[in-house]
Each structure stands twice: as C-alpha cells, then as structure tokens.
Symmetry: C2
Subunit: 223 residues, 2 copies
C-alpha cells in the first residue's frame, strides 16, 4: 500500500536522523563518521545519501529538528494563565536547562549556520524559537507591565545572549543549573517597567524626593 510505503520511508528517515543526532552528539561534527551513522541506523552508507544530500545537510536536519522540539518544549513549559513575569521566568529556566542538557547539540548549531558557500544565515527554526519570547514580551507591553518604548529585539539579545553565555560558563565549570542566573536576569527586567513619575535614573530623583520630604517633615514637626 502507498500509505504504508510512505510511512516506511518516513520511519527510515527518522531512524537515520536519530542515529545522526546521537553520533554528532557523541563525537562532534568532525568526529562523526557517515559510516557509523549508517551502521547505527542499520542501513548501507549509500542509503543515507538518498535521504540527505551530504553530511552538512544531515547536520542541518539534526539541528533543525532539535530547535523545533525545543520550541514545542518551551511552549509547553510556560503556564497559560500566568502573569508575564512568571512566564518569562519559566521560559528562562527552560531555556537555560535545555542549553545545559543538550550542550553538545547547541554547540553544533553554529556549524549548521555556516554553509560552505559563505553568507552566514540565521536558521529558520531558531527564528521560530525566539518568537516565543517575543510573544510574551509583547503581551507584557500590551498589559502595561512593560514600558511601551522598549525595543523588543534589544531585550531579546540580552535575554538569549545572557542565558547562552551563562550556560557556557556553567557547563565549563560544573555542568549544573544555577537558579541565581535566572533571578539575576529577571531582576534586570525590572528596568523595563513603566515608571510612573520618574525617568531613567530613579536613584537620583527619589533621593531628591526623599530629601524634600524630610525638609517638609522637619518643618512640620516644629509646630
């Protein structure tokens, strides 16, 4: 049956992809042997090339699937009804944990970015992934929890940049998740709250206010 045939082919493609993910993860891109991937997928070496044009395209498929799964996981990790802050916290935790758990595959992602024929491109699936963040931030702005004049793309760079760098630092040390990183990041986001009465530098202004209040109170106490 055509239906069964198609399923067989997809199953085989999936098997090859799984084998490739494992081998790339274990041995890295350069260490991975196409022969080993074929062996694990229980197919001949030539068969792999029926499904993927070359090693790099196979790598791209592995990375692509990884980020697609990550997107699913992220969406599942944030609780529907929660407030914006809570959701950001959940996304940050999920992201950091994933980066640590699948460090090998994440490292490999940069390899997929550069195709031999030069111009560095952004992977569509990563674009998709960061949309999750953008969605939450946009909701935060709509709900007036965040100032309307922030640039989401800049904050996105802070968010993902910090987490990526932190993950690298953590893995190079002891490989464990550190909630302090999340707390610290979330504290930064307080900067984006809409300020009712002041501009940027709340320190100076509030101290001025406090001084003024002190003067008033001192005066009053004289009565």
């Amino acid at each position: 049956m055509a239906e069964t045939q198609r399923q067989r082919l997809e199953a085989r493609e999936e098997t090859i992809l799984a084998a490739a993910t494992a081998v790339f993860g274990e041995s890295g891109v350069d260490g991975a042997r196409m022969a080993e991937i074929a062996r694990r997928a229980d197919v001949a070496e030539g068969t792999v090339y029926l499904y993927y044009k070359n090693k790099h395209e196979l790598l791209e498929a592995v990375v692509d699937r990884f980020w697609r799964e990550l997107t699913k996981g992220a969406i599942a990790a944030i609780s529907e009804g929660a407030n914006v802050n809570q959701q950001l916290h959940e996304l940050a935790s999920y992201h950091l944990q994933s980066l640590i758990d699948d460090f090998k595959i994440v490292e490999i992602t940069s390899r997929a970015r550069m195709r031999h024929g030069e111009p560095v491109r952004q992977l569509p699936q990563i674009r998709e992934y960061v949309r999750v963040f953008d969605g939450i931030m946009q909701r935060g702005i709509d709900l007036r929890e965040f100032s309307a004049d922030i640039a989401i793309w800049q904050i996105r760079d802070v968010f993902y940049g910090t987490l990526e760098h932190s993950a690298r630092t953590l893995v190079l040390r002891d490989q464990v998740f550190d909630p302090l990183v999340i707390d610290h990041l979330m504290r930064l986001f307080e900067q984006y709250r809409p300020s009712l009465e002041t501009d940027k530098t709340s320190g100076l202004q509030s101290s001025e206010i406090m001084q003024a209040l002190s003067r008033i109170e001192t005066k009053l106490s004289q009565f």
Copy 2:
C-alpha cells in the same frame, strides 16, 4: 648567527600564521586548504607541519593570537583616567565593533574550543580578555559606584553574552555598529548602583514616598 636564525624562524612562523588567518577568515575552517595556506605563506605544505602539528593546532594558534591582540586593543581603548561608567562604555563599544569587524574569526573561535578528544575547554586567551572587564567592575565596586553584593561573573555573562548575541543579530542584518545597543546595555548597569535608602524595587520606593506623604497629610489635617 644564532640570533638571526631564530628571528628568521619566528618570521616564518608569523608568515604562516598570517596566511592561515587570511584563509580561515575567507573560506572558513572546512573550506580552508592546508595547501592554500602553504602557498600563500610561500612555503611547501610539509613546512607548515614543522611549525604546527596539524590543522587544528594551527587554528588554535590563529584564534589565540586574535584574542591576544583583542586584549591589547581593549586595554588601549579604555581611557586611563575616566570614570568607571565611561570605561565600561568604551569597552562595550570596542568589543561590539571588534565582533562585527572580525565576525568570521570570532565564529571560528568556537571551533578552536572543541578539540577532537572531547572535553570542551575555555581558551586561556579569552580568560585573559575578560579580565579587562573584571578589572573595571572591581574598581567600580571599590569606588562604591557599584553595589558590593553583586556577583561579577553574572554581570560578565550579561555583558559579553548580550554583546555577542547583538553582534550576531547586527551582522545577520546589515553589518553595522549600532550605538543603541551600547546605550541599552549601559542602562542595565544602573541596576547595580548601590541604593542609598532602599532595596531593589523602585516600586517599593514610591510606596515609601506615598507613606511619607500620608504621614504629612495626616499631620497637616490636624491643623
């Protein structure tokens, strides 16, 4: 003369390193041919292997030198007498500009990090490079410009993580330096200022102000 001989060898090593930097930059790690590097350095292919054990070690040398130069440049870029904030601004600008200008080499850095025999390591020269940041922050703490209870390593991750991610975003768009990124980052550092009278959340501050105002109003109403 032994002196001259030694210089000749070092000059040749430098020539090979320069050729390698160029070829790696143009063609990427996988695209770079050892034969091409040798040709550009005007030596035989075998000669390259007298100076560097293999392609990966040559790559490491290229990356190592790049970051060493970057450290020199960073130190030169920050003005000795300036205040901490100014210095951070200068370092951030220099770093972002460098990441954009030498994007190719920076991308290649991650390749140098993973040696075939597994465990990912941090490159000594990058360690050295981030010390520049640490030094400025420490001075900031000593001068009470920053709160003493901050963890420098966390802020370092924010600093470099954000800049690295921003650089990637910028390069993938239009390749140009954007001062907004720096301003935004510097704004975040306001979070680390020592607060004179209050804790973290400026929201709490305003509530304190409201309480004080209430006290005043209460007092006033007594007249």
